[in-house]
Subunit: 488 residues, 2 copies
C-alpha cells in the first residue's frame, strides 16, 4: 500500500538536506526523459527512485512506442501517415481531456521519434503485418490498436503506429530503457535509489518546493527551486484504489506492473490539490490472438449474442467482455480455423467440442435457439463478405460451417485478464498538474502513468500509448520545469 | 429533493390497491411510447405521473428528435443517409455503453420515424440549413450535432438528423407530445396524476412486482404482474446529485428541466440494485450562435489560446469552456463580423472594444503576447483557408483583421450556462435495468432521461438525442415488458 503523507509546509522543514532545481520522482521512461530535458535546459536535476536502479515498469513492458504522423520508420516502410491523420484518429477514438495536448503529440511525433533514436534507442526499419500482442523478434513497426477497425478506419487512413524497440518478447522494454539510463549517467544527472518520496512540500504561496524522502533508517528533505515532476507510475497495484474505481475487475484479474505502482504518484499529486481523470479507465487483456485465424471465430455472451467485432484490439475486446452479463464470453470456432490461443497468461480453456451447433448451445448453457440464430445469421452474411452487425473486416469473415465446433471460455472469471489502469492526475500540455477547474499548481508536474493517459476509455487504447506519450510529455515537463520553452 | 424510500418486500404489502400488467412511471415521451407499445401488445397498463397531466420535460423541450439512416424527411430533402453512416458517427463520437443498442437505434431509425408520424406527430418536409439552437418556425430538418465537425466529418457523410416537430420556439416539444397523449387517452390507457412513486416492491425471487404511490393524503400500492418501467426523467434538479457527480457546474449554471426531474427515477432504479452510467456527463449550453457569423470569431481561454473549433455544436463548445483554466473564455470578433449573440438566456456580455489587439490582450488581462501570437497564427492560416490546430471548417474561416476588435465574456461564471445531465440508470437494448455486472433486474426497466443517454460525454451530444432514443427505447421497453418481441 502506498505510503503517502499529507502535504507539508516549507516553514516546517528545519533543514533542507539537499537542494536542486528540479526533482524527478521515478526513473521510468517518463522520468528519464524529464530529467534529460530539464538537465539539458540548464537545470540542476535530482532523480529520486524507489527501486535500487532505474527502469521502472517501462523496462518490464513490451517496449512499444505509439508514434506516427510520418516517422522515419513509417516512411521507410512506405506509409504516408500524417500528423493530421493521426490526430483525427486519436481525437475520434480517445475522447481526450486536452485536444491541444493531443495535437502537439501528433505534430511532434516524427521529431520525437528522431529524438528517441538520437538517445540511442534501437528501432529497426522492419514491419510485422500479422496480429500479435508482443513479438519474439526485433521487428519494429506494427499495428497495435484499432486503426483498421470499423468505424475508426473511416476516420483516418489506417497506419501502423506501434514502434517497438529492437528487443524480443513481452519485456523488450528494457532495451529502450538501457540507453536512456546510460544517458542520465553519462550526463551526470544525480539519482538516489531505494528512496521513497512520501510527501510534497509547498510554500506559503502554494508553490510546490520540495519533497520528503524516506530511506532505510533516514528521512531527508530535498528542496526543488523550480519544480517537482511526479513520474512514479500507475496505481495498478493499489487494491483499495482499484476496488474504488474499477469494481468490474475481479478476483482473477491481475495487475501488470511493478510493486511501486501502488498509486503513490497519484496520491502525492492529489495531496497538493491535483484533480484526477479517467480513473475508471482500464485495459484488461487476455487476447484471443495469436494465432490470427482465431479472429475468424465469433465471440458470444451468455445470451448467445455477439457484442464486439472480433478483429478489435485485444484490450478493446476485453473491455467489452468485462461489461457483458455476468462477465461471461466464449470464443466459438469451427474445425477449419481451430487452434489454441497462444498467449499463455490468458488461460483460455477449451470447454469442449460438439458435432452440432444445437449441442454446443446446450453444452454452453445458452438460451435455446440463441446460438443457432446468431450463427445462422453470421454465416449467411459472412458468405457474402459482410458483417452488418459489427463490421468485422471482410478479411476475417468466413462462414463457421465446418463442424465439429469448439468453444473456448474467455469469461472474465475463468480466464486471467491482466490489466493496466488508465487514470491518473489531470495535467496540461506541459505536464502541469491541474486542479478540478484546470488551474495549474505552481511547481508541480505529472507525467507517464502517474498522469491520466490520453485515452480515457480502455476501448480506445493501443499498445504504445503509455511509452509514446509518456516519453514525449516527460520531455515537455522537463523543459517547462527548467524554465525553457518547448519550441526553443 | 427526491422522496425515495428503500425497496419494499412484496410480503410486507398487506393489500394491493391496484393491479395491472405494466406500470409506467412518468408520462413524458419515453413513458408515453412505453405505455402505447405495452398496451398494444396486450398488456394491462397503468401510467403513474407526478404532475397533474402528461407531457413531462419532453413537452417543455425544443421538440427535436435525433433520427436518421434515411428517414422520409431526409429522403424528401435529398439526403441519402444510411443506418451504417449514422452508426459509424454515433459509435465513433458517443462512446456508447451498448453498441448493439446503438445499432438497433440506427437500423430502426427510419421506421421509428414513420411510427412517430403515424401517432400524429407533425413533421414537415422542410429544412433549415443555418446554425441555430432552436427555430422560431415550423421547419423540420436541421443539423443539430457535430456531424460536420472535424474529425467526425471524416467518419461518415454528414447528414442533418435533427427532426423537429412542426411547432415553434424553444418549447416546441409540446406539439409532439399532444398527439402521443391523445393516443393514450383514445386507446383507454389508465393514468393517475398527482401521484408520486416513492418505492419499488420486489418479491422473494428479486423480481420487481409493484410500486408504492403517494397521493395527497393517501398511500397506495400498485401491483405490476409483468414489469415496472421507470420513465421519470433526469436528475437535473437534484442539487445533491449534481454536486456529487458534476462538481464543475457552478453557481451560475441552471438546470433545464421541470421540478420532478429531481432524480427520483434514478434513485428508484438504484434502490433495486441498478447500476448507473455516465453520471459525470453533461451538456451545458450558452451558445455563441446565432447569428452564425460569430462562428467566424475565435474563442480563447485565460492563457490567450484557442481550445475548441468554434463551429462545434454549442454543447460541445460549452463542455470545453467548462474545462478551461478557471472556466474563463472569451469570444473575439473583429468589426466585419461583429454582432451580439442572440440567445438571451446565455447572457454573454460585451466586455469592450479596442483599437489594437495589444490593447485587447491587456484589457482582458491575458498573458503578454499570448493573444497577439494566437491571432497572428490564426489569421495567417485563415487567409489560406486553413485551421491546422483545430480544423474549423473553411466556410467559417476569415482573418480577424478588420479592427477595431471586441470581446464577449463567455466564461462559465459570467454567462448563464443551462444544462442537461446525461447520466442515469444502466440499461440494455430493451430498457432492461442492469446491475454493475450487466445482469438484468427482473421486471424492471428504465427509459428516457432516467436511463443513461447514449452519448456518455457532453461533447458528443446533439439536440434530439433525448427525444429520439427516449421515444425509441421507450417503445422497446413497452413491448418487452408486455412479453412481446420487438420484431414481431
Amino acid at each position: 500500500m502506498a505510503n503517502v503523507e499529507p502535504i507539508l509546509s516549507a516553514g516546517d522543514i528545519a533543514t533542507w538536506d539537499r537542494e536542486c532545481d528540479v526533482i524527478v520522482i521515478g526513473q521510468g521512461v517518463a522520468g528519464t526523459c524529464s530529467a534529460l530535458e530539464a538537465h539539458r535546459a540548464g537545470a540542476d536535476v535530482l532523480i529520486v527512485e524507489r527501486a535500487s536502479g532505474g527502469g521502472g515498469a517501462s523496462a518490464m513492458s513490451s517496449g512499444i512506442y505509439y508514434l506516427g504522423g510520418g516517422t522515419a520508420v513509417q516512411k521507410a516502410m512506405g506509409y504516408d501517415d500524417t500528423p493530421d491523420e493521426m490526430a483525427a484518429f486519436m481525437m475520434a477514438s480517445c475522447d481526450p481531456l486536452d485536444p491541444v495536448a493531443v495535437r502537439h503529440f501528433c505534430d511532434d511525433s516524427p521529431s520525437h521519434f528522431d529524438w528517441l533514436e538520437r538517445q540511442g534507442l534501437p528501432f529497426e526499419r522492419t514491419e510485422f503485418k500479422g496480429k500479435a500482442v508482443f513479438l519474439n523478434d526485433t521487428t519494429c513497426l506494427m499495428g497495435t490498436g484499432n486503426e483498421k477497425l470499423w468505424p475508426f478506419n473511416k476516420i483516418a487512413r489506417p497506419a501502423p503506429r506501434g514502434h517497438k524497440v529492437a528487443g524480443t518478447g513481452e519485456n523488450a522494454g528494457h532495451v529502450g530503457m538501457a540507453p536512456l539510463l546510460s544517458k542520465c549517467e553519462q550526463e551526470g544527472i544525480p539519482a538516489i535509489y531505494d528512496s521513497n518520496v512520501v510527501a510534497l512540500v509547498r510554500d506559503e504561496g502554494g508553490r510546490v518546493v520540495g519533497v520528503r524522502i524516506k530511506q532505510a533508517g533516514a528521512t531527508i528533505h530535498a528542496r526543488a527551486r523550480r519544480g517537482v515532476i511526479i513520474a512514479a507510475g500507475s496505481f495498478n497495484m493499489n487494491h483499495e484504489m482499484i476496488a474504488e474505481n474499477l469494481p468490474l475487475l475481479g478476483a482473477t484479474s491481475e495487475p501488470l506492473g511493478i510493486p511501486s505502482n501502488d498509486g503513490a504518484g497519484v496520491l502525492l499529486g492529489m495531496s497538493a490539490g491535483t484533480a484526477t481523470s479517467a480513473m475508471d479507465g482500464v485495459i484488461p487483456t487476455a487476447s484471443i490472438y495469436p494465432p490470427g485465424q482465431l479472429i475468424k471465430g465469433i465471440i458470444v455472451n451468455k445470451r448467445g449474442e455477439r457484442f464486439v467485432a472480433e478483429d478489435s484490439y485485444h484490450g478493446r475486446t476485453a473491455n467489452f467482455v468485462m461489461e457483458q452479463p455476468d462477465q461471461k464470453a466464449w470464443l466459438i470456432v469451427d474445425s477449419e480455423i481451430f487452434a489454441y490461443p497462444e498467449i499463455p497468461t490468458a488461460k483460455h480453456t477449451l470447454v469442449d467440442g460438439w458435432e452440432t451447433i444445437e449441442e454446443m448451445e446446450a453444452g454452453l448453457d445458452l438460451p435455446t435457439g440463441s446460438l443457432v440464430r446468431t450463427m445462422a445469421g453470421y454465416n449467411k452474411n459472412a458468405a457474402q463478405g459482410r458483417d452488418p452487425l459489427l463490421h468485422k473486416d471482410a478479411s476475417w469473415l468466413k462462414p463457421l460451417d465446418k463442424g465439429p465446433w469448439a468453444a473456448f471460455d474467455i469469461s472474465f472469471d475463468r480466464s486471467t485478464y491482466l490489466f493496466i489502469t488508465l487514470g491518473g492526475l489531470k495535467t496540461g500540455p506541459n505536464g502541469e498538474c491541474l486542479t478540478l477547474r484546470s488551474e495549474p499548481i505552481p511547481g508541480l508536474y505529472a507525467v507517464g502513468a502517474s498522469a491520466a493517459h490520453i485515452p480515457r476509455n480502455g476501448k480506445a487504447y493501443a499498445s504504445g500509448m503509455s511509452l509514446g506519450p509518456g516519453s514525449y510529455f516527460g520531455r515537455r515537463a522537463g523543459r517547462h520545469a527548467a524554465g525553457a520553452n518547448w519550441t526553443d
